[in-house]
């Protein structure tokens, strides 16, 4: 609950900031670069005189968008592959799992490089990269849950009645893995935000000057900024950590909610 109390205002602020914050995230002011916080610029200005607060809010919008869309994609892909592997026969299962293993064996650096250079950099490719890196974990979890289930009477029964794969997936697969999915989804949003930040560090995330928390944090790479203008990375860093923290709390709460024993608390 504490998680939601933090998350909702952050979400609201990033979505509505244009209505109440006078500065534009990409407006430069070369006469006022690297300024400290002031009544006009609450968080100061960055290396080209852009308002840090406006960039923070716009960056939050980008980061959250990247994280949520990639979460949706990786959840769908992860569930589908895991569920098909879990319900279909041994051959399909074996193939799908080797595919998952292969995806997990690929060195992420190469994956990133290639995807980024084929697809270019920016919001779309970043979403793609994060989704492609994340789905195998979910597939494994869904599959192992469904494998337990496959032998149970009701699945055998509905199979005996000639239920198709589609039916199995949505009538039995989805309800029985919904807890995994929901928890994974929340944690993946948090993971997505962190991955986006990491990608920016490697130079292949959302490209500047488009603001994202990742590329704002990335300015800490410059010793000048790290040392002399700490607020340029501290504010986005703090907001990023707090947001991820809040999402993780929500995820933890959901996990408890899906665990019947937790009611005893």
């Amino acid at each position: 609950m504490a998680g939601l109390a933090i998350l909702v205002p952050i979400l609201l602020a990033t979505v509505t900031y244009e209505l109440w914050w006078p500065y534009n995230p990409n407006d430069i002011d070369l006469l006022a670069i690297n300024k400290g916080p002031s009544p006009e610029h609450w968080m100061g200005s960055d290396g080209v005189g852009r308002d840090v607060m406006a960039r923070l809010l716009q960056g939050g919008r980008t980061s959250l968008l990247v994280a949520s869309v990639s979460m949706a994609i990786s959840t769908i892909v992860g569930f589908s592959v895991g569920a098909v592997a879990g319900f279909a026969g041994r051959l399909v299962d074996g193939t799908a799992m080797r595919l998952v293993d292969l995806a997990m064996t690929l060195p992420p650096v190469i994956f990133l490089l290639v995807l980024a250079s084929i697809a270019g950099t920016g919001v779309g490719p970043t979403i793609l990269v994060i989704s492609l890196l994340s789905w195998p974990v979910l597939s494994r979890m869904v599959r192992s849950r469904l494998l337990e289930l496959r032998e149970r009477d009701f699945v055998v029964a509905s199979r005996g009645m000639g239920a198709g794969l589609w039916h199995l997936l949505f009538r039995h697969g989805l309800p029985n893995t919904i807890d995994i999915l929901v928890v994974y989804a929340t944690l993946q949003v948090a993971g997505g935000i962190l991955l986006e930040a990491g990608l920016s560090f490697l130079g292949s995330g959302v490209t500047p000057p488009e603001a994202s928390w990742g590329n704002m944090l990335n300015s800490a790479r410059s010793v000048l900024v790290l040392e002399n203008y700490p607020r340029q990375w501290m504010f986005p860093g703090a907001v990023l950590v707090i947001t991820v923290l809040a999402i993780n709390f929500v995820g933890d709460g959901l996990r408890d909610a899906f665990d019947p024993r937790a009611e005893l608390n």
Binding site: L31, V48, P209
Partner: protein, 448 residues
């Protein structure tokens, strides 16, 4: 090479160069002789060796060695860049390499584990991605160096180099211009400023069609407030470039400074019919620079160009990706670039990037500049062997660049090195690594 010749003469027809070699020894004790020079130059000409100078040393007709310390190089045609090319060539010991097949030299294990040279320090070991260790060479021609060992450390991340410098683990390093500023006022360090000899430019791809009208290119120049960027983002550490050169002798009077004037830029665009040519469609703006400072520069320029109605989208890629793109034929992938090209100390460096005869695959004219006036200015300057007259010819090149705007030349930034104040007699220029700068490491010493 330059450092190993004690003196040289050029024949009146500019075809024959006679070098007198300095009295030097290889690190294994063997004397450095004219045979080594002949061996090296012939190897450089031979494309099979995998050297990068094959095309540029193609003009060498013959190399003669009348005695151990004299070399006569004859060219098939005059080439004013010859001495400059020669200064890049590293001499190789014939006695150590002669029996290795030419095609194998590039990947021969013995050479990569025990290279020898004639410099003040000899190679001890190389730990990959970590450091090179060098030790004083007792028989160095100008006397034994003062320090016993020299270690050249490699850093993957510029911040780590700065950290190591600040932590006292290393005594000097190149630093990013921004990072150099963090040493201001710190008495434990000395910040050394040097000319980068690299002109940064906004590259217009002349094959995509949107830059054909010179008024559009001029509008770009007027839209960008270069002086403000140099003052604020560079902190003054750059010179405005109104053509490819900033060195006084190559810059004529009366160049158009393209002052910051967004209204004029808009007017020029309207005249040229920019709305018809491209309008607000996004233009991908590719660069291989990945430093935080360039990200800031490009963000500033993007915002300025947006004000006049040119919508550019910066895209930073790594060096191989950049080279892969700009050397390819898919012009739509790089309608615009932000890049740099070496413009000195030898002004001829720019020829290969701007002369119409240097279009790929022959040369490095990646923006596909084909401007007859500019090309002939380059040809004239390249053929001029009289150094006094050459400066005037290079001024012509500069003037043509300023008028025609094959590129939007922006500035020449300074390069920085930071050295610990403990270093004594430390002469070192933070210039491009391949340049012929005399650093005299044999004099360096660390204060007790």
């Amino acid at each position: 090479m330059g450092a190993l010749a004690s003196e040289f003469e050029v024949s009146p027809d500019s075809l024959s160069y006679t070098f007198r070699l300095a009295d030097a020894k290889w690190h294994d004790g063997e004397p450095f002789t004219s045979a080594d020079v002949k061996f090296t130059l012939e190897l450089a000409k031979n494309a099979e060796s995998g050297g990068l100078f094959a095309a540029r040393s193609a003009d060498i007709a013959s190399v003669e060695t009348p005695d151990e310390s004299t070399v006569i190089v004859t060219l098939s045609q005059p080439n004013s860049a010859f001495l400059s090319v020669l200064s890049y060539v590293m001499m190789l010991p014939e006695h150590a390499l002669a029996e290795i097949p030419v095609a194998e030299i590039g990947k021969n294990a013995r050479w990569s584990t025990t290279p020898i040279g004639t410099g003040p320090f000899r190679f001890v070991r190389y730990v990959s991605d970590q450091y090179v260790e060098l030790a004083a060479f007792e028989d160095y021609r100008e006397g034994r160096p003062k320090v016993d060992r020299l270690i050249n450390r490699y850093f993957a991340n510029p911040a780590a180099a700065v950290a190591a410098l600040k932590a006292g683990e290393i005594q000097f390093s190149f630093v990013e211009p921004d990072d150099a500023r963090t040493f201001d006022g710190d008495t434990a360090f000395r910040v050394i400023e040097g000319d980068s000899f690299v002109v940064n430019y906004v590259g217009f791809n002349h094959r995509v069609g949107i830059w054909d009208d010179v008024r559009v290119r001029r509008a770009v120049m007027h839209a960008i407030d270069r002086d403000a960027i140099i003052t604020s983002i560079f902190g003054g550490a750059a010179k405005r470039a109104d053509c490819g050169y900033v060195a006084d002798q190559f810059v004529p009077e009366g160049l158009d400074p393209y002052g910051y004037d967004p209204e004029k830029a808009k007017a020029l665009l309207a005249e040229a019919g920019w709305d018809e040519i491209n309008g607000a469609a996004p233009i991908s703006w590719v660069t291989y620079y990945n430093s935080p400072q360039v990200a800031n520069l490009m963000a500033a320029m993007q915002a300025m160009l947006a004000q006049v109605g040119i919508n550019v989208v910066p895209r930073a890629v790594d060096v191989p990706t950049y080279n892969g793109i700009v050397r390819g034929e898919t012009y739509a992938d790089f309608p615009m670039t932000y890049a740099g090209l070496q413009n000195g100390p030898d002004p001829a460096s720019l020829n290969v990037g701007l002369n119409g005869s240097q279009l790929p695959p022959v040369g490095n004219n990646l923006m596909r500049v084909e401007m007859p006036e500019l090309s002939s200015a380059f040809d004239a300057a390249m053929a001029e062997t009289d150094s006094a007259a050459a400066a005037g010819k290079w001024q012509q090149v500069c003037r043509a660049m300023n008028e025609q705007l094959p590129w939007g030349t922006m500035w020449v930034a300074s390069r920085y090195g930071v050295a610990s104040s403990d270093l004594v007699d430390f002469h070192w220029t933070p210039a491009p690594g391949s340049g012929p700068y005399v650093a005299h490491p044999e004099d360096w010493d660390i204060a007790p």
